[in-house]
Amino acid sequence: MKNKHVNAIVIGAGAGGGVVAKELAVSGLSVVLFERGDWVTYDAHNDDELMSQRTHPFENPFGPDNKRHRRVFVGPNGTSRIVLPHEYPFSNNAACVGSGTVSYGAMAWRFMEKDFLMKTTYGHVEGSTLEDWPITYQDLEPYYEKAEWEIGVSGDHTGNPFQSARKKPYPMPPFAYNKDGQILHDAANRIGLHPFPIPMLRNSVRYNGRPACYRMRTCVGFACPVNAKCGTHNTVIPIALQSGNCELRTNCQVAEVMVNEKGLATGIKYFDENDKGQIQTADIVIISCAAVETARLLLNSKSRLFPEGAGNNNDWVGRNLQGHAYTGASGIFEEEIYDDVGPGACWAVGDFNHDNEGIVGGGVLCNSFFTPPYAFTRLRPPGAKQWGLEHKAFQRTNYKRISSVRGPFQEIPNFDARVTVDPEVKDHWGIPVARLSGQRHEYDRIGCQFMSDRAEEILREAGAISTWQAVGGRGLSGDQHQSGTARMGNDPKTSVTDKYGRVHDIDNLFVADGSLHVTNGGFNPVLNIMALGFYIGEYITKNWNGGTFTSK
């Protein structure tokens, strides 16, 4: 049976797609929201460390599965190999309703004004594609606010003196520090920094009909057993479904966007939950599959007008793959600093996000989420013995005495860190898989070293008796903070979409996810992706004329 034509298709029920689907559905557009994964619950994997989104030696607990999905990774020496979804460097984002927002740590950062003006602020960096965004912080400010209120953020709106201007406080009060956070807070104050509680997409009080967080140690990497963590799966997606205008089709793998002879998207080809090939037509198509899969889908959508893939006539699709170079330091304290008040991360300083002498960009520093026991076996000073009696003694003595201060360094984008499609390797459905190649810009190492030095200083001031650094490396970026592969810009020659996320030259095809990010900020990017979802969703509904969507 033929699928009924709808107004809009949204591909990917994550941070971006979930928001867009809701914005369109509540405005009266008929929507089909496609998701390659399924709904997941806490009970499937409960608090099993080996089945967490952070540590997954067996397979991805939140998908995608090892049976049907593959990617190809090209190493710095040019040799390529097939990578399974749970292996490094697959660059995974969860495949389930809500995607990463089900299992994330849920930090809720707004980018800063300068994050949108990286080239203006820092000038050209050799070997990079550093650029300004076509939109500003001010353009996005109302949509950050929407994301904070509709999805739910706890925080102190006066906490970070370096943040850009905001109109409204957060809807919920901040979380109190745990012991580790309080110690770091006092230390940061002593050395003249400006510490504050991390804003979190997690209920500090009852909100939106869901209970407050009770601060388990297992949070990041897991679904929340009491539904206190706020993602798209328990906020905007249910609202979209309740509107009666949105159908969610899970376990569907989209193969390509069909583009006709007029250069308009007519719909998609996909495989349903029984692997049957299907077609869904629509007036508008919105891609929200995260940076790797969005690029793959665009590149796999070949047509006469776009022989190299939709929106790729200037070879910018899949370029500038970014994520975050994580960097920081760890320290051992004389006394126990672990009080089991989860999830660990609660304290931040924004002093190093910009205006660091001699450094391009920077990033926020936070205390880390609790490191569960197996992951803790790798948390060692350089040269420490990894096994035997020494291993046990270290675990026993230090499990509750180590604090780590880390942060996401804002990467300098480069043209050769990229996603293409592999000419040979195909997935379960016969669709060419993503091929990842390139590495981080060499500059990132300098920035990471700077931030690790600052992290180590704070730990020492806090009383750590022994400290060591873990400095972000040069490997290919991406991972859960993946972004940049469908850059927005005013010039079609050097970008993939316009400033509303509309693919250049295809008036009814949009991208709404981190792929749009020109630069990725020195912050966890999820709130920015949600804000872009609200911004693009509103643009579409305001300009919707009831038929084929075109600006011309």
């Binding site: 979380f175 601060r215 057993p225 026991p373 076996t377 096994w387 499990y399």
Partner: protein, 149 residues
Amino acid sequence: MIEAITEQIIPADQDAGATDARVVNFFDRQLIGYYTRYQETYRKGLQNIESYSLKNFHKNFVNLDWDQQTEFLETMEAGELPEAEWESNEQRSFFRMLLDHTMQAFYGSPRHGGNCDYVSYKMLKIDYPHVIGQNRYRSENGNTNLKAL
């Protein structure tokens, strides 16, 4: 043999070791489960250890003294077993795999076969299971969440 190696990696002291935690059970289960793909690596790796031990010490690995086993594994970790018919990086990578899987078995959830009775959690003094609504898990307003739920 796995038992001897994993007990070297996590020996019993005042707290449980790999044997007590039934780490071998994890290997037995995962090598026909998630780690079926590593069966061949294990078969070859363990054979290499055994034949090296027989050739150089005229004993099975399990019959070496404790200290001899330790030294054997330390040398293997560095990829420096002298005159081994076994490439240096293969020695190293097999040791890394043994080490990693042992840690997963000892510290991971018992539902995968190891960490019997949460012995590693006892060693780290982290309580288990987490009881939802337990008094010390408080929300910000000081109430337990049982009522809110």
